[in-house]
């Protein structure tokens, strides 16, 4: 994915979202910041779960983690609220041009989304086919429907048939709230 000139600077302010060169993660971070500052929705990325094994205290006020390990997340990366509704999703990129491999998503993350759906929340995946420059939103109910037949991957065709293409814009970069608004609230999303 390419950015127009001058946008890089803006991305830099989002290094706290994890500056690991992930296009989609940065784009969602910027979109969430847009929703927040325009009072549209409150969606945050959860911090990366880490097991801390050793902490040094060079001074009374300072703590430095000297040994830590990445943990498997027990939930999805993003959650929050839109128009009073609970929102929960996971976002992933794939370089494949034909299908999204499901080993990208932990089974307990899928179970988590299933529970959210059952409890009346809005759960979904955002999947970007980075080589095709296409980003889709797939509701958890359609994900679960798919998993009945096929557990290894989701074809591009399934995203095209059952998912929602998220148009790339300048701001918000990945306007997934617009899609959610159309599906659940009749599209009265105010920009």
């Amino acid at each position: 994915m390419r950015y127009p000139n001058g946008v890089k600077k803006e991305i830099k302010t989002y290094t706290n979202y994890g500056n690991r060169g992930m296009g989609l993660e940065n784009d969602i971070g910027i979109s969430n910041e847009y929703y927040l500052s325009n009072d549209i929705a409150i969606i945050h990325k959860k911090p990366t779960p880490i097991t801390i094994a050793k902490v040094d205290y060079p001074s009374r006020l300072e703590a430095v983690i000297k040994e830590g390990y990445f943990k498997t997340p027990s939930t999805t990366d993003y959650n929050g609220i839109y128009k009073g509704k609970y929102i929960d999703f996971e976002a992933k990129e794939t370089k494949s041009k034909t299908s999204f491999p499901l080993n990208n998503i932990h089974s307990h993350q899928i179970k988590h989304l299933e529970k959210i759906h059952k409890h009346g929340g809005i759960g979904f995946l955002i999947v970007r086919f980075s080589m095709l420059n296409k980003t889709f939103l797939l509701l958890v109910e359609d994900l679960l429907e798919h998993l009945k037949n096929e557990k290894k991957s989701i074809s591009l065709k399934y995203f095209e048939d059952r998912g929602y293409l998220i148009k790339e814009k300048y701001l918000p970069r990945v306007d997934y709230i617009e899609i959610i608004d159309k599906i659940y609230f009749g599209g009265s999303y105010e920009k």
Copy 2:
């Protein structure tokens, strides 16, 4: 706070919530696990936000954090869903017998709760006076009302007048959902 015999073992399985001897944090972790396994509510504690400065890769599959720093959280510690409603709260303990010092809570955490309330979510504080063995739930609207007059602390009396005392039980240990259920759903919480 003392636990009956045999409960310690149970607590041990919650070391992933941060085994820092925090009674309230452990109690809420156990309560959330109870809500989850009984399909009552889905509430998770967010991981501690950390800035990772250095990572070693002793092998292709292993990553060890060698330098990291604790970050100021930008939101509250807990969020999730109950009966379709978005739930968001912060939990704190104090050793004071008379008032809860507000420097325990970051100003952007209060702003976050205020936004959640504005967007139709349920936001609150859970505050334990550990010396008195009393735990209160205070809704964000009552917190904001208080902050109009007094920004340094919240008196025990204010919690007694405007807050809700959470009864200590065996399971769930800190049954804050029961309170939320009474306030917002007419108390039809099924146990």
